[in-house]
């Protein structure tokens, strides 16, 4: 199963997921140790510079398709795939670049997080109200432009103003974001890519 994800073979992955259902395998193990190992390996290959965006995205889509097929049957086995945490994702107001944020969302879902994806060009107030509404653990804010990254700081300032900064962990992403920017914003971390975003989210939710 892991191999089908790493080899980016959607049909094979779905066949194997169906076979797991037919053979009445322990589905939670199938997800976590089978396909889950695959998406982890996809992440490693990205880290090693072997995989790029298309492979990463395809791998996450295959993982998600397999999970979508198996998920409804988990209940019958009286097992639940526990969410690793709830994450709100948004690209900041004025920035239409949604792709990096979407990839992070896809990778987070594939890795067992519940994701509320607000899309791109999202106002600071909307991010705050949605984070409160969904009671997320982590707020992830993407900014691809040097002209828009200042908005990431505005979200954190607004959280502080509302007295709810400690209710959420805030992670930043986007090409111009650096550690010094994270320090300046008093954010909880930043990720350079979708794979490190998954690692960071795991850390922030632990």
């Amino acid at each position: 199963m892991a191999k089908s994800v790493v080899d980016l073979e959607m049909e094979k992955a779905l066949d194997l997921a169906q076979k797991a259902l037919d053979d009445n395998l322990h589905l939670l193990e199938v997800i976590e140790k089978g396909f889950g190992e695959g998406i982890k390996r996809v992440g490693d290959l990205w880290d090693e510079g072997e995989f790029f965006l298309p492979e990463l995205m395809r791998g996450a889509q295959i993982m998600q398709a397999a999970v979508d097929l198996l998920q409804p049957h988990l209940e019958a086995q009286q097992s639940v795939r526990e969410t690793r945490g709830k994450v709100l994702m948004a690209t900041i107001e004025g920035d239409i670049h949604s792709i990096g944020k979407t990839i992070v969302s896809t990778m987070l879902r594939a890795n067992g997080f519940e994701v509320v994806d607000l899309g791109a060009d999202v106002k600071v107030e909307t991010i705050i109200s949605e984070a409160k509404k969904h009671q997320v653990n982590v707020i992830g804010i993407s900014a691809l432009l040097t002209t828009t990254m200042i908005g990431q700081k505005k979200v954190i300032d607004a959280l502080e103003k509302h007295g709810i900064r400690n209710n959420f962990k805030v992670m930043l992403g986007g090409a111009p974001v650096t550690q010094s920017w994270v320090d300046e914003c008093k954010a909880d971390g930043y990720a350079e890519n979708a794979v490190s975003a998954v690692k960071l989210t795991k850390k922030l939710c632990s």
Binding site: F51, L53, I99, I103, T148, M149, I150, S180, W181
Partner: protein
């Protein structure tokens, strides 16, 4: 006739401009505002920046139309302004372009991606770039297709331009540095891109943005090794931005930037265009001018 190639043949090295976005931010461009809108909202400001680059010594200056293609504008509901923005920017530039200098029409990526990353299709992209090229073409001497991370989208842009005009094209991809070399975020290699761009019959093979000038030395070296036929163009960033007193600034000085660019000139053995991307200013360009002139006279 390739007017760009004529200029290159005459001078050997041509000086491009520096960043437009960073310059607009210094003049009050708000967070989230599309810089391209300033072509119609604050035309005098945009024109002043064009002027500053020519005054600093640029041989070519490009229009402020990086995001003025229909798909990118649509995402901000500005698609009805495509003609107005592109026309205004090109006219502003033409209005102040000194004799003997060149006007370049700037075209950036659409912001959408091919599957599996997104849902773009090739024909839709060709049509979008064609629309922008059609408005720019009458005013300009050459096109700069820049900051593309997907060679397929670049090919769509080239096709879009070529449907309108035979004017020269500078095609610049944007690269990340990995342990195995330089790749775009889509995984396109230098070798693949240079092969594809050569086959697409463009005039100049380029790279811009993402990396700072120091990384560009190695990038240029690798590009030069693969490409031994076409002229090249490099526009690095002035390092990476940091926040200072609530404002984003690029810390790399014109001197540091120029030192790296001089190293690129030392490696160069062909026709070359050099300039700057994010964070570079007329001061960076001015110093580059001095270096180029010194090399000629020295």
């Amino acid at each position: 006739m390739d007017v760009l190639l004529d200029h290159l043949n005459k001078k050997g090295v041509l000086l491009f401009d520096g960043s437009m976005g960073t310059q607009l931010m210094l003049r009050g461009l708000n967070q989230g505002e599309i810089p391209d809108i300033w072509n119609i909202k604050k035309p005098n400001v945009v024109q002043e920046i064009f002027k500053n680059y020519f005054a600093a010594g640029s041989d070519l200056v490009q229009t402020a139309t990086f995001r003025a293609n229909p798909i990118a504008l649509k995402s901000k509901n500005y698609e009805n302004l495509i003609e107005k923005i592109n026309k205004s920017s090109a006219s502003l530039l033409k209005g102040i372009c000194p004799e003997g200098k060149l006007i370049v029409g700037d075209i950036g990526p659409s912001g959408i991606f091919f599957p599996p990353v997104g849902e773009a299709n090739f024909d839709e992209l060709v049509s979008s770039f064609k629309q922008q090229a059609k408005v720019l073409a009458p005013y300009i001497d050459a096109f700069h297709l820049e900051t593309f991370s997907d060679i397929q989208e670049m090919k769509a842009a080239i096709e879009g331009v070529k449907k309108i005009t035979n004017k020269p094209i500078i095609a610049s991809m944007t690269y990340n540095k990995k342990s195995r070399g330089f790749f775009t975020i889509m995984g396109d290699t230098l070798k693949n891109n240079i092969t594809e761009l050569t086959e697409a019959k463009i005039s100049v093979i380029g790279a811009n943005c993402t990396l700072g000038s120091t990384d560009f030395i190695e990038l240029f070296k690798d590009m030069r090794t693969i490409n031994d036929t076409l002229p090249m163009s490099v526009k690095p960033n002035a390092g990476q931005p940091i926040l200072q007193n609530g404002k984003l600034v690029y810390k790399q000085s014109p001197e540091e930037f120029s030192k790296d660019m001089n190293a690129i000139l030392n490696l160069n053995n062909g026709l070359l265009i050099i300039g700057g991307c994010c964070g570079t200013s007329p001061d960076h360009i001015k110093l580059l001018r001095q270096i180029i002139n010194q090399r000629i006279s020295g």
